[in-house]
């Protein structure tokens, strides 16, 4: 069984936010506003966090795309009373089943990475965009939690395509929206257990680290810090 994971190269990331936009469009995530942001009620499965360093003229900004880490030991799953969020044995994805969710928000509190978002309102889009919603993903109702799913609808499509062509799923068949759109190719995605996959190789890079590793959540999202590139492997 594959165990999907992601590697994000912070040395490549330019902070362009293409991943954040692609994620919203792919997954029917509603827009937000500065007012909602102030109330802490935005929904952003993928967000590029800025970190400011130094003083002018020596100032610089670092960027960190942050999303659900699809923990191998996910506290959100342990706490969910309804199994609305669970760790898939088939893919390693921490999934969210909306009609099971009772909106208790325990998981949002349990997640140390604060990447679970509650639907405080019925989502709204400008009229011309309604026809452009992704038909492969549901529009979530009010009062349920949502988060990054590693575009799990795409694994279903990729499997369907591969099975139709009577072949096995290969590295690169299943891509997430953020990975696909990243102009700097900072995001790599695939099966961490496949020794041939690029994501497995990069996750073992000397530059690799995981967010909050000391928490024992075993995230499946790896970051590559700045440093010497291992050009052979990182092509």
């Amino acid at each position: 069984m594959p165990r999907y994971g992601m590697v994000i190269d912070l040395d490549r990331c330019t902070g362009c936010q293409a991943c954040a936009v692609a994620c919203k469009v792919e997954n029917n995530v509603p827009f937000s506003s500065p007012e909602l942001a102030l109330e802490g009620r935005t929904i952003a499965w993928m967000q590029v966090l800025p970190f400011y360093e130094g003083e002018f003229p020596e100032a610089r900004t670092r960027f960190m795309p942050a999303l659900c880490n699809h923990c191998e030991i996910p506290p959100c799953v342990t706490i969910c009373p309804t199994s609305a969020t669970y760790l898939s044995e088939e893919t390693g994805i921490v999934a969210q089943i909306y009609p099971r969710c009772i909106g208790c928000r325990y998981c949002a509190v349990a997640c140390p990475y604060t990447v679970k978002f509650f639907n405080w309102f019925k989502p709204k889009w400008p009229e011309p965009m309604v026809a452009g919603l992704n038909p492969d993903v549901s529009v979530r109702p009010k009062s349920v939690i949502e988060k990054c799913t590693f575009c799990s609808h795409r694994v279903v499509k990729a499997r369907e395509r591969a099975d139709g062509e009577k072949r096995k799923l290969k590295d690169g068949d299943y891509q997430t929206a953020c990975q696909e759109v990243c102009p700097a190719k900072a995001i790599t995605f695939g099966d961490l257990d496949d020794p041939e996959s690029r994501v497995a190789a990069l996750s073992k890079s000397p530059r690799a680290f995981r967010f909050g590793e000391d928490l024992g959540t075993e995230p499946k999202v790896y970051y590559l810090r700045e440093g010497e590139w291992d050009v052979e492997r990182e092509r």
Binding site: I97, P99, V137, S138, T149, H153, D163, G164
Partner: protein, 171 residues
């Protein structure tokens, strides 16, 4: 005494009102179809994907459009007068430049995702496995002819060792 009779009558009226007006709204009413369509007659001449043209390529199988019908129905083809009466409706729709107002049954719940392509084309499952003997029917059903429950889907998925991961169908 007068009061009791009044109350009794009031309750009887209320009961009758609920029974006649409110209850039916909670039970499914058969839906009127635009014509008496015989799956049997069509299945003898064609195949399922002849009319449900997307069944092998997309998630939704599709209901035939007027154009699909007119591809074959070039003039009246039925022999019996009562069949011709139905077939003539196509001519009327064409003249009025109207689509056929099929009454489809409620689709899946908005969080359930099903692909006909996955089942019919990729896994090569016969239509009748799920759609039973619809190909034998002489009229269009007014109510859903069968009920698809998750338990029923899962029984087959388990038997065939297909995915039983929740997100395979619920998103």
């Amino acid at each position: 005494m007068g009061r009791a009779v009044f109350l009794l009558i009031a309750v009887a009226f209320l009961g009758a009102f609920l029974y006649l007006n409110v209850l039916p709204r909670f039970s499914p009413q058969p839906r009127a179809q635009p014509m008496r369509f015989s799956h049997k007659a069509h299945f003898e001449e064609s195949t399922c994907e002849g009319c449900h043209v997307y069944v092998m390529e997309h998630g939704a199988a599709g209901t035939p459009t007027l154009e699909n019908c007119l591809d074959c129905h070039d003039g009246l083809q039925s022999e019996k007068a009562e069949d011709q009466k139905e077939e003539e409706k196509l001519v009327v729709y064409e003249e009025e430049e109207r689509e056929i107002p099929w009454a489809p049954f409620p689709r899946l719940a908005s969080h359930v995702f099903f692909s006909h392509r996955r089942h019919a084309a990729v896994s090569e499952i016969e239509c009748a496995t799920c759609h039973e003997d619809i190909a034998e029917s002489l009229t269009l059903p007014g109510n859903p002819p069968y009920e698809f429950t998750m338990k029923w889907c899962l029984a087959c998925h388990e038997e065939q060792e297909a995915s039983t991961d929740c997100v395979a169908c619920h998103r």
